[in-house]
Amino acid sequence: MLRVMSIFERDLKSSIRDNMLLYMMIIPLLLAFGLKLFIPSANTLTVKFAIDKSLDKEVIETFKKYGEVELYDNKDKIIQRVNKMDDIAGITLNEKGLLEAVIEGNEQKETPGMAKMIIKNINRNDKGDINFIISNIGYKMSPVASIGSASLIIVSIMLGGMIIGFNIIEEKENSTLNALTVSPMNRKEFIVGKSIIGVIIPIIQSLLMLWILDLFHVNIFMILVLIISSSLIAIVLGFLIGVLSNNQIAGIANMKGLMILVSASILGAVLLDSSKHFLLYWSPLYWSFMGLHGAILEIITWSKLGINVLGTLITTNIIFLVAKKKIRKGLS
């Protein structure tokens, strides 16, 4: 145990000396602040309209009910605006005094579709008689906030793994790894000692991030269980990067390859229909992300969380078994 702690202490001291720990702690927290500032603008995301100032006030107000409105002096300025990169529909009057929409032609279908629907509704005499009732299922957190927060925790967990990997590469380059192999320390102690930093840092960081994002009301125990189980895959990947890479270039390149698989797991979980999620069952990060997302949205039960943790552990174990030989060889 003493030897394990001395490895951890050594890594910690080296990280503090390099200011690495400081960056590792502060930068993800800054990202959390950034996300907090970013969420409101992403939540108000709607279709945009560039409208001729001279149009009837009532028409302008109608468009404001459905999207973000920017006012322009004349048609030329509207065309200039529409030609810019983002999607926006210009609204102006034609020579007959009828409302018309101006688009670039490469917008997503919602932009021209909405413009057409609103104009049609304005032109229509019979506005229809429908009794609308609005209710909700009580989720106050937008997908940008929930997905962003869960992804940040995953980033924090993966950073822990990255640091382990680069510490090992550094040890290899400085030949201290060889020195350690002739010391009384055995391989298990070395691995456990090296791994501690990859578990402790994400836990502290995630708690601080949840606090920054005003998410301290979520079930912290669930989050902790998920972080600890997910840290295992970060540690395995960290060791893999470390033993597979002979130098830092190779380390970064290997890290990039692994990060593609990590990003693919998160993107797939977000973009794919739930019926196609089986395509991602191989990835531990898919299970972690789903668990964290559910815990942040407070929609996950302990039994469902158990499935996610189990999924993470089983897939991590499979990856570890495949990589075990490589890691053992790389450390000896």
Binding site: M20, I27, L31, S41, L45, T46, K65, Y66, G67, I79, N83, M85, D86, D87, I88, N94, E100, A101, V102, I103, E104, G105, N106, Q108, P112, A115, M117, I119, K120, N123, R124, G128, N131, F132, I133, I134, S135, N136, I137, Y139, K140, S142, P143, A145, L159, I163, F166, Q248, I249, I252, A253, K256, G257, I260, A264, L271, L272, D273, S274, L279
Partner: protein, 344 residues
């Protein structure tokens, strides 16, 4: 000078190949090709799904027409259950009261009023659809050649992948290349040679650019083939890569080793790419802080080069902008290395 630069270039290419860099660039590009072609579905969508339920009270034919070709669930509870599984979904319960449509819109709870108004309008549109009314509304297309055909969802990801991998490759990798040389003492040796710092940096930046171009060719040819404007795409990737490598070098110049520089470099890349990714999926999202990110126009220009809509102005403006960025960032890089590394 050209001889010295070519000498440095050959050395840097050899160093990077020895570090398995070429192999990894090819493997990562092929992984992305595989991801686009075989993992990301052709028909996925980022649109919010809507779950419907039609109550037994409904006799209105028009109301029944709304649910044509849509997935109808058996009860409101089932709608809510499905909604809980999908955080972007909405629910609609179609009912009738006193021969009048009564429609309940169930939201998640975070949606703003504009989204609810839009949904109300869309339902109204379906209830009172009249093709003649639609015909009377004129839509002027400024670029009529746009939207010629529907691009499959997986192919739509190609511009994003090109931005994230070949363009931003140098951002992280160049720092590693510099630190390796620093540790090996190559920089010290170079200081006493007739070579100057500008050539030393230019050589690294060019190596990253060459790998970026190789990766671009593998990704685009492996997914969308030779469609689009390859020449423009390669120019954009080259300029983007130069700027990314220079910025990576500037950040790295503040640190002593790769372990220290890695986290700030990786996290800067997250900051400059995440909002752009959101704008990629929702192009009407364009707050001011997003517009000042150089990756924002670059992403749209890459998209235009791969899937041309005739917006040559966008391509030329972005190229012009990135020529300026390249020169400015190159000069800042030289200054920061003069100050931070060579001084030591």
């Amino acid at each position: 000078m050209p001889n010295r630069l070519s000498g440095l270039l050959i050395k840097d290419i050899k160093t990077s190949i020895r570090g398995y860099f070429l192999l990894i660039v090819i493997i990562v590009a092929l992984l992305l090709v595989g991801l686009i072609n075989f993992v990301i579905p052709e028909d996925a969508s980022v649109e919010a799904p809507i779950f419907y339920h039609l109550t037994e009270n409904v006799s209105n034919k028009q109301l029944k027409l709304i649910i044509k070709d849509k997935d109808i669930l058996n009860s409101k509870d089932e709608v809510i259950k499905k909604m809980k599984d999908n955080a972007t979904s909405l629910g609609v319960i179609l009912d009738e009261e006193n021969n009048k449509p009564k429609i309940e819109i169930i939201t998640q709870g975070y949606e703003n009023e504009k989204i609810i108004n839009t949904l109300k309008l869309a339902i109204k549109e379906e209830l009172y659809f009249n093709p003649d009314e639609m015909e009377n509304i004129r839509i002027i297309k400024l670029k009529p050649s746009s939207n010629k055909g529907k691009i499959p969802f997986n192919d739509k990801m190609v511009p994003l992948m090109v931005l994230l991998e070949p363009v931003l490759m140098g951002f992280v990798m160049i720092a590693a290349l510099i630190f390796i040389e620093k540790e090996q003492g190559t920089i010290e040796a170079y200081r006493v040679s007739p070579g100057n710092l500008s050539e030393y940096i230019a050589s690294k930046v060019i190596v990253m650019m060459l790998y970026g171009l190789l990766s671009t060719l593998i990704i685009t040819i492996g997914t969308v083939g030779f469609s689009g404007n390859i020449v423009m795409l390669l120019i954009l990737v080259s300029l983007g890569s130069i700027v990314a490598s220079n910025v990576g070098l500037i950040i790295a110049s503040f640190f002593n080793n790769i372990s220290q520089a890695l986290i700030p470099v990786v996290l800067t890349s997250i900051v400059i790419t995440t909002p752009v990714m959101l704008a990629f999926f929702a192009p009407s999202f364009s707050p001011i802080y997003l517009k000042i990110l150089p990756t924002y126009p670059l992403m749209f220009a890459i998209k235009e080069a791969i899937f041309p809509t005739g917006n040559t102005g966008l391509l030329l403006n972005t190229i012009g902008l990135f020529i300026v960025f390249s020169l400015v960032s190159y000069m800042i890089t030289i200054l920061s290395y003069k100050r931070n590394m060579i001084k030591k």
